[in-house]
Amino acid sequence: MSIHPGTAAERKAPGSHTPANPAKARRRSPTRVNPALYLFPLPAVAVVAFFLVMPTLQAFQYAITDWNGFSAAFNYVGLDNFIRAFTKDSLFTNALTNNLKFVLLVVIAQTLFSLILALLLTRNSRGSILLRALFFFPTILSSVSVAFIWKFIYDPNFGLANSVLRTVGVDGGAYLGNDAQALYWVAVTQVWFHSGQMMVVYIAGLQAIPRELYEAAEMDGANKWQQFKSITWPFVAPATSIVVAYTTVQSFKAFDLILGIAGNPPKSSLDILSTRIYSTFANSEFGYAAAQSIIFMAMIALVTWLQRRLLRLTPKGD
């Protein structure tokens, strides 16, 4: 049996001639197409360019200016705005610290809470369907409504929390008025607001687990914890990656909830990056606010990338 020499391209095109230099040949034989075909994606390209690319590019440009947002005059200041954010602006670093603390709190609490809810409500009884709907209910509310409901709950004078505590003889606190605790109380609201949504993600993962695995494990004498560790967790681990990533981005951008619950501007104990950026825009520091927005965007991208690297939770199949 003889072996036909030459490249795969030559083999699959028996009628073609063999060029002396295949690389050069690739350059010389471009695909020629009707230019009219390139007109078809143009509307989409234009929309993306106009509404996405240009504003993003402009944000980068504003970030290196001292533009105040309305004046025709401005100066290019290089990286001054970025340096200022980290070295000369304690309000920004305070907001950054608050935001990281808030994200950490919410991600841990929301992931655990929504997983526990999902585990408790996976049974297909009538009661569990009702409870699922009940826990999912906050998700369908607007964040502004949620903010105002919880603002009322936390009010020290007329609020529900202190009213209930007073009935059992306990003096409630100032909640949002206590700088040391305020962020925790908003985190409670955020977890209440979004856990139902994350619970649904977990329920979807749990319902994909074949029941036979549990039956087999029970026959082998595995207890509930062993069943969770060896069957449930491997199946819901990918859902955890989704929940953590989504919750992280969501809590980085809890702008509407914070502004609704804490007012505008929020006190420094409740100031997070998005509210700080908003305040900076309102303070007519457009260039500086644009720089803060870019730092914010980079931070979310970095944290999300780190999570993907660290949380490679995939099912351990055999």
Partner: protein, 429 residues
Amino acid sequence: MSQISRRQAMAILGALGFGATAAACAGPGGSTAPGGASGPAAPSTGAVTGKVSFAHWRGEDKAVFDELIKRFAAKHDGVEVAQDISTSNDYNAQALQKLRGGSIGDAFATFRGAQFKNFTEAGIYTELKDSQAVKNYQKGLLSAGQNGDSQLGLPYQVVFPMPMANVDLFDKAGAEIAPKNWDAFLAMCEKLASAGVIPISWPGGDVGNGGQLFNCMIANNAPVDDMCAQIEQGKLKCTDDWFIKMLNQYKDLKPFVQPNATGTAVEPAQNLFSQGKAAMLATGSYHIAAVRGLGAKFPIDLVFPNTTSDGNGKYEGVYNATFILGVNSASKNQAAAAAWIDFLSEPENAGYYANQTAQHVSVDKVEYTNPDLKRLSPWLQKKTALAARFQFNNLDVRNAVEASATAVISGTSPEQAAAAAQKIVDERL
């Protein structure tokens, strides 16, 4: 049509992309600000017709403006005024951008201070110096709308950002409603507390309304009248003795404000006052209509926390001339917008606005029939300081300086609170 290669197509797209990048990199604010460098011009004249957008933040006055709009439309055939109302915070943040296009806010209002300054620099105002409207105002109350020789805006409202008092509770407790000095003020609070009521309802959880008390506390403490401007410029410091003294006086107030005051929003604070649980509401006369709406039936007066020790303070109270009316230089219907401002500035219409909203106005020869306004009218003649917090042009500085007072109420030492505020000021110098 001849065919092109993929490489050529990529080159064309690349060139387009480069063009888009270059376009994106056109200078920010590339157009000259409306109004131009030659200074503001008077609103253009012409027929009073077409649609006028009136932008402001006083949602609570909507019905009153609706009635005034009806009366205005009855005078001018074919004219229509639409209210574009935002909340005050959103208005602060977004109004300038909205107004620049000219489609919103042919006529508009601004806050005194930083917002007025920004609008002035942006060239949003037209010159109202020679308008019919300006002649109707009390001369002494027009300064908040002036920039150099120009009268760009007309400060419409006169409000007193001082604690409002439930006169019945004061009488019942035998408390003095006009304390001469700081000790007398504290003694008054003590009497009210002994009578079983909260002396001061203070919305410490609401940055804007909680900050109004600052106007009273700083008026007689500061060494100069432009104290807040000087703090922002670094000439005066929050760590100065006079400022620390003021923070110590805030500390004196701590037993007399409601429990957990730093977490109280403005509506619950109003409720405490309206329900007779608190003798004073430390916001200002601009909340009279709100507390009446909440059912307050008692007579209301104002109390000035005189912070002097000997009673010889420079000021007997604090006022603010705000809700500055202007005509948008970018408006395409300046004639009708100017006519609307003229209409609002007529004593009869200003009087209707004042009596319906329970707010004094800067317009002269207005007859106040509202019982609350009649009762508070003597304050118009007193020696009152123009509210100092609006001297701040940087909102971060303003919030930080006012937050020092809130921090003291929540337990931070005056020295620490002052140092924290000064740090923010120093960063922004």
